[in-house]
């Protein structure tokens, strides 16, 4: 954190180069933003020296203004759709197109080297355009994006001569059965990261092997399901220096030659710290991994429903240095007890549901309590479970006061504390009280306005709050809006918050990135009022049902409203079903 007082006016007498050199050491976006606000001269120096820019909402600013301010831009991070788009609440054509950004950057001859996109629509054309426009392009990271096919990947592979990083995380990619892997030229030897785990189609295994052979710098390799175990073994022979490995399909006969070779090659892979994949897994092949386990800091088994609880625990008992664990609820409460006694360094846990049928979730509050007792360093949690109690939440809050992210999802979203039949207000209240650094919170269970009262009072660092099926009245939302000074993102579905809450403090939304409200009590009239009074907000109404034309009945409840602050007014690329008030 850079402290500046009036006495440092003298610093302006330093030549710009000196200041620029000092700013070089300031890397966090927030700090750089603060630096730019000190004075005009610092603003100028900062903006010319800024290389990395993060834009949390691609519609809050235009590419032209970005380029005008930061001509030295090398790395751009953009986020598009709101978070609830992950759960099918936002139609695919809503927006978040990256093409205009690439076009503008290309035209202005920015020397782009890195592009990181999340929840954006990326077309093959934009990938091709990207690949041909920036000579020094090195790194493409796409998270939860859609709209492209393997043809776009082929263009990236073929044209980006110095590509270091191609990282595809959980995207929806259409497989055109092209041979994009073969499009990496023989001269491409610079790959450090290659992650294509989310691709659904077949892979040219020979091309993959040749690529890995000629990539001595490869540190991170995540394969998709189409890569079988014997190929994995061959790849590892060529790349024992890997730090991050995602297996493909991990099935073979344990007596096979490939499997025994794999066992011995795993013993040589001393650098692997992060392990994922295991789409399709044969439990009896897991013992090959044990030699790697002792050094693992990240283990992701959340795509492997074929592993039972006891197989999981047997594996985890070897992972004493684990810091992050993503797992399915097959592990069960007792399994979490094993995690608690083994993984003392654990900081992040995500437990995903393996069966979404009602009443089938395997986790209860017991697992979480056991975990909290054994892992005091826990700071990030995503926990899908069958039930939760206030007592457990209070215990967890006390055991683990370091939570930064706490996301609890009880599959029956309005389930009360089964022991006391009370709402879970007290439990979550304890979480926000004891965990003073809490930045992100997702709530479920039977909740009343009281929990929001607690949140408003105690969650001083809260930046993102997700609410579903909660809240009795506008008071709830008001507690949050008034109390959480650092709130940036608020997303609400199916809760009883209406116009009174929405309109109480409209200025608040300019201090936030965005607000999402769906299936609440907000009406069209309320949204219109807000849009009228706040010109620097963009208030979008998303109406998917065909028959619902944008009626002029202001009393009609709005199905989905998404509003965000913006410096560039209403976007021009919204589809017909989005009405920007």
């Amino acid at each position: 954190m850079l402290w500046v007082s009036r006495k440092t006016i003298k610093m302006n007498y330093f030549p710009d180069e000196v200041l620029e050199h000092m700013f070089f050491f300031i890397t966090s976006h927030k700090d750089r933003n603060s630096v730019s606000l000190v004075c005009k001269s610092w603003y100028k120096i900062e903006r010319y020296s800024r290389q990395r820019v993060f834009i949390g909402n691609c519609y809050s600013i235009s590419p032209e203004r970005l380029i005008a301010r930061f001509p030295g831009l090398k790395s751009l991070t953009l986020k598009g759709k709101p978070h609830f788009a992950d759960f099918n609440l936002v139609p695919h054509e809503w927006g978040g197109f990256v093409y205009p950004w690439i076009e503008a950057l290309a035209k202005s001859r920015i020397g782009l080297e890195e592009l990181r996109l999340k929840r954006m629509v990326v077309s093959d054309e934009s990938l091709e355009f990207l690949s041909k426009s920036f000579v020094n392009f090195k790194s493409l990271v796409l998270v939860s994006c859609e709209g492209f096919t393997t043809d776009g990947l082929a263009a990236i592979a073929a044209n980006c001569r110095f590509l270091r990083e191609l990282d595809l995380q959980e995207n929806e990619v259409d497989d055109q059965r092209g041979h994009w892997l073969s499009c990496f030229p023989e001269s491409c030897t610079s790959l450090v990261t290659l992650n294509f785990a989310c691709l659904k189609g077949e892979i040219n295994l020979g091309a993959l092997e040749r690529l890995v052979v000629r990539s001595p710098n490869l540190k991170s390799l995540r394969l998709n399901h189409a890569v079988p175990l014997d190929t994995l073994q061959k790849l590892l022979m060529q790349a024992p220096q890997l730090v991050d490995l995602g297996t493909g399909s991990y099935v073979d006969d344990p007596s096979s030659e490939a499997y025994s070779k794999l066992k011995s090659v795993f013993q040589r892979c001393k650098s692997i710290r992060s392990l994922s994949g295991f789409f399709e897994v044969a439990p009896h092949c897991m013992s090959a991994i044990y030699p790697i386990c002792r050094n693992l800091t990240f283990l992701n088994l959340s795509y492997a429903p074929g592993l039972h609880g006891n197989e999981l625990t047997k594996l985890i008992q070897h992972c004493r240095k684990l810091q992050r664990l993503w797992i399915l609820d097959c592990i069960g409460d007792k399994g979490l007890g094993v995690v608690a006694s083994t993984c003392k360094e654990l900081q992040e846990l995500r437990v995903f549901p393996s069966d979404l049928g009602p009443g089938n979730a395997a986790m209860t509050e017991e697992g979480l309590v056991l975990l909290s007792e054994g892992c005091p360093k826990l700071n990030s949690l995503l926990y899908f479970c069958q039930q939760m109690t206030n007592a457990a939440l209070i215990t967890v809050a006390k055991n683990c006061p370091n939570f930064i992210r706490f996301r609890l999802c009880i599959l029956d979203p309005v389930k009360c504390d089964p022991v006391t039949n009370q709402p879970l207000d007290e439990g979550f209240g304890a979480i926000v009280h004891f965990c003073k650094g809490l930045k992100r919170l997702s709530l479920t269970g039977l909740l009343t306005d009281q929990v929001f009262n607690y949140i408003g009072m105690y969650a001083e660092q809260l930046e993102m709050l997700s609410i579903a099926f909660a809240g009795d009245s506008d008071e709830g939302m008001l507690y949050v809006l008034n109390g959480c000074k650092k709130l940036r993102k608020l997303e609400i579905m199916k809760s009883r918050f209406g116009n009174a809450a929405l309109l109480e403090d409209m200025g608040k939304y300019e201090a936030m990135r965005s607000l999402w409200m769906s299936s609440c009590e907000v009406t069209l009239g309320g949204c219109k009022t807000l849009a009228e009074k706040m010109p620097r907000l963009s208030v979008e109404i998303i109406n998917e049902s065909e028959q619902m034309e944008f009626s002029h009945d202001d009393r009609q409840k709005v199905d989905k409203m998404y509003l965000y602050r913006t410096l560039v007014g209403h976007r021009k690329d919204s589809p017909a079903f989005v009405c920007i008030l």
Partner: protein
């Protein structure tokens, strides 16, 4: 307020102003500091440093009094209990219940009371305090089963929750929170994880029959584009009229097999009836279309892929199958050997 404190250093409830609109959190906190006695300060949650003994569970279990204090003051909510005497009966003794449930009950009373206060936006200083002894006395009472009273209380709460001048939905009845039916956006799981979850069997991969080794392969993070049907023709030997199936409606080979069975059963029955009537044929017909996938029935299922090859259904993971299948055919097993099929055991290798 101070007068209400009992002498043995137990809970002295203070009342917090819960009206958020006032936005004077800092002022309120200072007020509390000024007016709290040292005992209260010790017990008041927000002032105590995290490591303070008051808040450790071990302390609480050792000392019932402490535990009760803790339970009463856990979240810093000090309620002046006016006439909640009835509800105090619900406080279970700390000895009878684990700390957890002892903790939960006082809070609900407190917040119900607090909520009532919301309609009168006064500073917490002005609220008269009830004797905290009523709280403590209640704690010593033998516990009552909390279930029914909790429910009653909850209903009472809900009625109290509708503030008079509010536009919110009033008189929330106890059934306001029924478990919702299938809701878009719930549960908050990414779609490829949903496919993973619904497609997986509870058996590990090793237990599935070897003929269909990839049945559990739905765990790859593939997403089926929503809203796109995939209708493919399906013909059956001996049945001149074909059908169409929407492959997006299924997520596993078993479901497809069942669907195919149902599709053709009627047609087969009609045909058989025309050759020979009688119930025995109908019984045969029940079985005849079963065993499509594991080679045990009279028929087997093959498909034509996008390269024009005829392939045996069941070798590749479901998602891969769906992406490459062009049409389906139900063949009599006796005809299999007569046809040239692609190798059924190998994966398809791209050229």
């Amino acid at each position: 307020m101070e007068s209400g404190c009992s002498k043995n250093g137990e809970a002295c409830p203070q009342f917090l102003d819960l009206i958020p609109q006032q936005r004077d959190w800092h002022v309120k906190r200072e007020d509390e500091r000024r007016h709290g006695s040292s005992e209260e300060k010790k017990l008041e949650l927000r002032l105590g440093p995290p490591g303070e003994d008051n808040w450790s569970i071990k302390e609480a279990t050792k000392n019932n009094t402490r535990e009760r204090d803790e339970s009463l003051l856990l979240l810093g909510y000090f309620s002046s209990m006016k006439s909640n005497g009835k509800q105090t009966h619900k406080l279970p003794t700390p000895e009878d219940h684990p700390v957890g449930s002892a903790l939960s009950t006082p809070w609900t009373k407190i917040h119900q009371h607090n909520h009532q206060q919301q309609t009168q936006p006064q500073s917490f200083l002005q609220f008269p305090s009830t004797s905290p002894q009523s709280l403590l006395v209640a704690a010593k009472e033998s516990s009552q089963p909390c279930c029914t009273k909790a429910v009653d209380f909850q209903n009472a709460e809900k009625k109290a929750f509708s503030p008079p001048a509010n536009t919110a939905v009033p008189s929330n009845s106890s059934q306001k929170r029924t478990a919702p039916g299938p809701v878009v956006g719930w549960p908050p799981v990414r779609s490829f994880r949903k496919n993973l979850a619904s497609g997986s069997s509870s058996k590990p991969a090793s237990e599935t029959p070897s003929v269909v080794p990839h049945k559990v392969a739905n765990e790859k993070p593939a997403t089926q584009p929503s809203g796109k049907g995939l209708l493919v023709k399906i013909n059956m030997d001996g049945v001149p009229i074909g059908r169409k199936v929407d492959l997006r409606a299924y997520d596993s080979y078993e479901k497809l097999s069942t669907a195919v069975d149902e599709l053709f059963r009627g047609l087969l029955a009609a045909q058989r009836d025309s050759f020979a009537g009688g119930t025995e044929n109908k019984q045969e017909e029940e079985k005849v279309v079963m065993g499509l996938l594991d080679g045990s029935g009279e028929y087997t299922l093959v498909y034509e892929d996008n390269e024009g090859d005829r392939m045996l259904v069941g070798d590749v993971p479901w998602h891969m199958f769906v992406s490459t299948v062009k049409r389906l055919r139900v063949l009599k097993r006796s005809e299999l050997s007569a046809l040239s099929l692609g190798s059924s055991k190998q994966r398809k290798i791209p050229a």
